[in-house]
Amino acid sequence: MSRWMAGLLMLLALALSPGIALATAIGEPLAFDSEAQRQQYETLTRELRCTVCQSETIHESNAELAADMRRRVYQMTRDGMSAEAIVDFMVARYGDYVRYRPPLQANTALLWASPFLLFGGGLLVWWQVMRRRSRLDDEPEFTDQERAALERLRRGD
């Protein structure tokens, strides 16, 4: 009888403990201690990349690895870890590639600079085109000599 009771208690503990859940399905309703924790979980799952299905975040990916990563983020959030600590944890295991928002560091400098470089390049081309155009406008369409020739033609000399 007591064994049966113990078994039942174990089952209950299993059902109640979030840590035992094998993986966290997409959109699975989750319990949080505070709204801040929920916010952190929702933000983090949208900022971490599923490393097997590389163009998806773990928030939207169906891959098993993504489900594991969601569960880990959930557990760590419940344990009171900060967002930075959780991201650092994932980066230590999967590399910078796991972040959807790449940090500004030496090897990503070109990536971050590229929009400004492209914009600068566009400005340069625009400036050149405008300069050439304004120069064309300034130039007289015909030289005096040509004008005289035209006048002669018109008069029929």
């Binding site: 993986a23 490393t51 590389q54 690895l65 594991d68 990563m69 880990r72 999967y94 590399g95 590639y97």
Partner: protein, 191 residues
Amino acid sequence: MKLKLLIPLVAVTALLGLLLLGLGLNSRDLPSPLVGQPAPAFTLESLEDPETILTEQDFIGEVALVNVWATWCSTCRQEKPLLMELARGGIPIHAFNYRDERDAALRYLEMTESPYRTIAYDPAGDAGIDWGVYATPETYVLDAEGVIRYKRIGPLTRQLLLDEVLPLIEKLRAEKLRAENLSAEPSRRTS
């Protein structure tokens, strides 16, 4: 004027060159931050015996391979003959049975030979995250101190073994011997 005409040609050629380079890259070949780090800690049941608890210490001691596999992973099946050869050649292979069912895994190992010395059972992928596992199969090379020295995402191939893995194992074994000789010498001198 002629030079200006060349600019679009050069630009397009450069872009095509970059794209061609990109075609040759495998987006799965990501550098692992774990290479050079000590083997991450884990506590898992042994696949064969739920009573036996394994930790990372059970993988450490010799230059060894750690292979991540599952019965649902057909690439792992293709890779197994190579692992068998390595095991017969005296290279210890430890393993994580990753997100698998114990019964299925045991049946699979009963039907064919097992190349594995130690198998940790990881049904929830817990150790998987700590070891930075992307997908099965994956193989790590541990040195005698338990530091990860190499990681392969995807199946091993004969060419890869000959070019990278076996030379690395040779090197690590030589390092280990040298370290042992060094530590043995001072004691000889004092005695």
